[in-house]
């Protein structure tokens, strides 16, 4: 099977499953909104304070929402044996993984990105910063999905995989968090955010080059260990 045929096959399958299982993509989105809405209640409603912490709050919440949804990346396919069949199919596992990660981003990263302008208004972030916020979330959540997939592969089939997954992935996602919120902060202060976004794109390309290969290795270990 050609590269694109394989990719589109995986993507169509995973999207079809997600369409029939709404919670898979709605729950992380709701989680994101609720967590962001908790911050004004915790730190006080003053717009001055909120606009300072807004980039960090939105970015940390997005990071947690993506992490939360990573548990389902391989788990259901692993439980019903699909993953084993994919492994046995003889097709490149790295490409299969890439297809699954793209769908995961489409379902968990993209909704966050689309709802983020609303949350930026809730947190009194200057409206000029909203395009940069969306752009940084676009690049950043894709990177997070790629990095997180490694963790999801390593914790395949374990009890309490969710907590362990966070422990493994959070330190690795620090650069994305730093540059993501820095880009938004810079844009909110009327500075250009070009350099931060450029570095984030670099991180994305880096994650794109090593992520799927490493995840494939991790998935192989996880599947072979369980049989």
């Amino acid at each position: 099977m050609g590269i694109f045929a394989l990719l589109s096959c995986i993507i169509r399958r995973d999207l079809a499953i997600a369409m029939r299982n709404t919670g898979q993509w709605v729950n992380p989105l709701l989680f994101f909104i609720v967590v962001v809405a908790l911050f004004p209640l915790g730190v006080g409603p003053s717009p001055a304070t909120l606009s300072i912490i807004a980039p960090g709050v939105i970015w940390v919440s997005a990071l947690l929402a993506v992490l939360l949804s990573l548990g389902s990346l391989f788990e259901t396919d692993f439980a019903d044996g699909t993953l084993e069949q994919l492994l046995l199919s003889g097709q490149s596992l790295a490409l299969i993984v890439l297809g699954k990660v793209l769908v995961h981003w489409f379902l968990s990263g993209l909704p966050l990105l689309l709802i983020s302008p609303l949350l930026a208004l809730l947190l009194a972030l200057p409206t000029d910063a909203i395009p940069v916020l969306m752009l940084s979330l676009l690049i950043g959540t894709l990177t997070l999905s790629l990095i997180g997939a490694i963790g999801a592969g390593l914790t395949l089939g374990l009890n309490q995989a969710g907590v362990l997954l966070s422990l493994l992935v959070l330190p690795l996602s620090v650069p994305v968090l730093i540059f993501g919120s820095a880009a938004v902060t810079a844009a909110a202060a009327d500075f250009g955010a070009g350099s931060q976004l450029a570095i984030m794109t670099g991180l994305l390309l880096f994650a794109l080059s090593i992520g799927p290969l490493t995840t494939a290795a991790a998935v192989r270990i996880g599947v072979s260990g369980s049989t």
Partner: protein, 259 residues
Amino acid sequence: MFKWIHRFGSAPFVYRFAGALAPWIGFVCLAILLSGLYLGLIVAPEDYEQGESYRIIYVHVPAAILSMFVYVVMAVASAVFLIWRLKLADIVAQASAPIGASFTFLALATGSLWGKPMWGTWWIWDGRLTSELLLLFLYFGYMALRAAIEHPQSAAKAAAVLALVGVVNIPVIHYSVEWWSTLHQPATITKMGERNIHPSMGIPLGLMIVGFQLLYAYVLLIRMRTGILKRESRASWVAQLPEVNNTMANSKLSGTNRV
């Protein structure tokens, strides 16, 4: 030459070799650490800016160096394990993780103790402190993943993959954090490394660094022996070891415990 390397694939050989080497390394390590501490804490003059409190660098700097060195050793051992399936390399990685985490914790604790008189606060989100903290999380993640997977062979492989992912990310994390901390705080802290260090302070510091390396080697050898015994606990050569035999005989005599 190749045959000699090949012997390190044999658990009984490594067990005996490590047992023979450990006491020697331990004695040399003790001698170097004691002389380094004597020169550093008693002979070396006090710093004209920081007074006596600078002396914590004799523990802090070696611990910080080792915290990163041990992770690199772990990653190299993990790569060797994944590529050549050498079990010994996995034992090295597994035995190193808690030692590295301890060095990292020591570096954080001494840094914080030094920060109280110098910066007036226990913790500052300084670039180096922050990346040490993240390094500690990476160690925790490695150990937690190892502990969570029951199947020993896949635990070893998964942990090895994680160690490699971690070592690739450490420079990225480190430089992001450096950039972030220079952005967030004014650069009022003069870094010690930028000034030349006088030999009366440099020599004890060098001794302490070598001493810490040897301490790592010593603890690593002991932990490797324990690791080998745990893995090979059902092998006949383990049952024939005099130390194992004696313990078994003792416990049988006292009747308290079954081995």
